[in-house]
């Protein structure tokens, strides 16, 4: 039953010698071996066991941190030295990273145990994990359904407790939306809080890493480890990192919650809305005040994001040319053929679509109409939040307009994009956002979104933790097959 324990509980167990890290790791590897969710692309069993051994030695000496010996699942977008790092793409199917991402290095320094690399939408482009070269991931609450994306493998693994926690990245909702659809906790911190070094780039002004966990307390513990300035990332923030666990116990009496009326518009499933409003009432009962706020430009987050992100991706993904690493086509007849076929055969459809949109929007004659326009609207969206945060401490609303949908049922890109409506604006404005389990609709989890002002992760985690002390949605588990 070790897999039902949170990080805090596991850490205590390790310290008290209730079990060793090797035993714990074996337990998870056994669970992974029988799982049918397709949530891992690579299981690193040998590495995990040797890391667990090292951790046990450290713990025996009375050394280590709260995370020493704790297993985790790493999204396959983070470079891991000597281990395949695919980003869910055929392009990188044979890529063995020659170096570690800063996050990987930080985790290694704490003697944590990497169980494997998790499945994801190719290059983090997608909201359902259906765009993976390695096939879709199944939602543990209903295996016919998607887990959300792009960190779908990470979310499914934590929800099914085949990892105590996992890493993710969030460019337009890729931590929060799968956390919501799988009934777990996920936080995307402020842009610049966690190093992007060694995190394969999709859209560099939006990409931000974060943890997917069972509880807000666990998220705070992992965020402590992941955060901080990194010289190797030129957009890394120099701002000091607080101890995110310190204020978890604070009372939220008098907390001002803002409900943006635009987040409760048409398209939001009524059962999802009901769950969200019930959790808001719960906060009121805990002494919080609820205010209506307006984010008038939030509907434009979709076109803005789907210009900015593809533009950045078309530039970032130009590095995949079949020359220095990654996939190369067979028998190229000349250099141009090498580029064209390596890229066309190596990338999946959605990635190609976004590269094309980005290339077009950045091309001569269209730059002003698309990219520049989108950057201006991005500014307006950011200003909306600035105004709202003058009167409230935290903004709340749904993460996704629906619960998890069935695999294969959303066929066109535009319909898929529209479902990102509530998550995109936090990325555009660089704000921290969180999803916490808030209830169920037809036996499928519904997540409540918390958005805070820049650098207010402590507030979000405190608010989420207080909610989890009053509710038990976060401790409900899917039925195991």
């Amino acid at each position: 039953m070790m897999h039902k324990l949170s990080i805090t509980e596991l850490s205590k167990g390790l310290k008290n010698k209730d079990f060793s890290s090797v035993e714990l790791t074996k337990h998870y590897l056994d669970r992974i071996a029988v799982s049918e969710l397709n949530s891992y692309i690579t299981v690193t069993d040998e590495l995990a066991l040797s890391q667990a051994k090292d951790a046990d030695l450290k713990i025996a000496k009375g050394k280590g941190t709260i995370l020493t010996g704790i297993p985790y699942a790493h999204k396959d977008i983070f470079c891991t030295k000597g281990v395949k790092t695919s980003a869910g793409s055929k392009m990188l199917d044979s890529f063995i990273s020659p170096y570690d991402a800063t996050i990987t290095e930080k985790f290694n320094n704490e003697n944590m145990v990497m169980l494997g690399k998790t499945n994801m939408d190719e290059f983090a482009m997608g909201s359902s994990n259906e765009n993976s070269y390695y096939g879709p991931v199944k939602n543990p609450w209903d295996q016919k359904r998607v887990p959300g994306g792009s960190s779908g493998g990470s979310a499914a693994a934590v929800a099914a407790r085949i990892a105590p926690f996992a890493t993710g990245t969030d460019t337009g909702g890729s931590i929060r939306q799968p956390a919501s659809l799988c009934g777990i906790t996920g936080i995307k911190p402020t842009y610049g809080r966690i190093s992007r070094y060694g995190m394969i780039a999709y859209a560099s002004s939006l990409d931000q890493a974060g943890p997917l966990t069972q509880t807000a307390e666990d998220a705070a513990i992992v965020l402590n480890s992941m955060s901080g300035f990194d010289d190797k990332d030129s957009t890394s923030a120099t701002k000091e990192t607080p101890d995110y666990t310190k204020n978890l116990g604070n009372s939220i009496k008098g907390l001002k919650i803002g409900l943006p009326r635009e987040f409760f518009s048409e398209g939001l499933e009524s059962d999802v809305e009901k769950v969200i409003m019930q959790s808001i009432s719960e906060f009121e009962a805990m002494g919080a005040e609820v205010h209506e706020v307006s984010l008038p430009n939030s509907a434009y987050a979709i076109p803005t994001y789907y210009i900015v992100a593809p533009c950045e991706c078309s530039s970032n993904l130009s590095r995949f040319d079949g020359v220095r690493y990654g996939y190369r086509c067979d028998d190229p007849k000349d250099l141009n053929d090498l580029y064209l076929r390596s890229r066309s055969e190596g990338f999946g459809d959605e990635v190609k679509r976004r590269i094309m949109i980005g290339t077009y929007a950045l091309s001569a004659g269209y730059y002003d109409a698309y990219y520049l326009k989108a950057q201006k609207v991005r500014h307006l969206i950011s200003e909306d939040f600035k105004k709202a945060f003058k009167s409230v401490d935290v903004i709340m609303g749904p993460v996704s307009p629906t619960t998890a949908f069935e695999i294969g049922t959303v066929k066109d890109s535009v319909s898929m994009y529209l479902a990102d409506i509530y998550t995109l604006s936090a990325n555009l404005a660089g704000l921290p956002g969180m999803s916490i389990p808030a209830g169920f609709s037809n036996n499928l989890p519904v997540g409540l979104q918390l958005i805070g002002n820049h650098w207010s992760e402590e507030t979000l985690l405190n608010v989420a933790h207080q909610f989890q002390l009053q509710t038990n949605w976060h401790s409900q588990l899917p039925v195991e097959p």
């Binding site: 076109p303 066109d412 890109s413 535009v414």
Partner: protein, 95 residues
Amino acid sequence: MSLDNKQVKEIAYLAKLSVDDSQLEQSTEELNNILNLMEELGEIETGDIEPMAHPLHMSQRLREDEVSEGDLSKEFQKIAPKTGKSHFLVPTVIE
């Protein structure tokens, strides 16, 4: 604005991607659907609003141009599809 098949081929070429003729019609339609969604931005007046390139309005941090890591060329060559002595190999460009 709406793209035709010829433009889609041109964009693909710029992006160093190829679009199969059998898929061209469908690709054009998909891209046009996405571009239609973008047109919504035309509704907003954005005259003298400052474009936002960085979510925290920060400027690029610079560092001294110093060697921070040693020569890793062997490590990097190991993962390349085709290499020569100290270089990456591509099909002949100049005869």
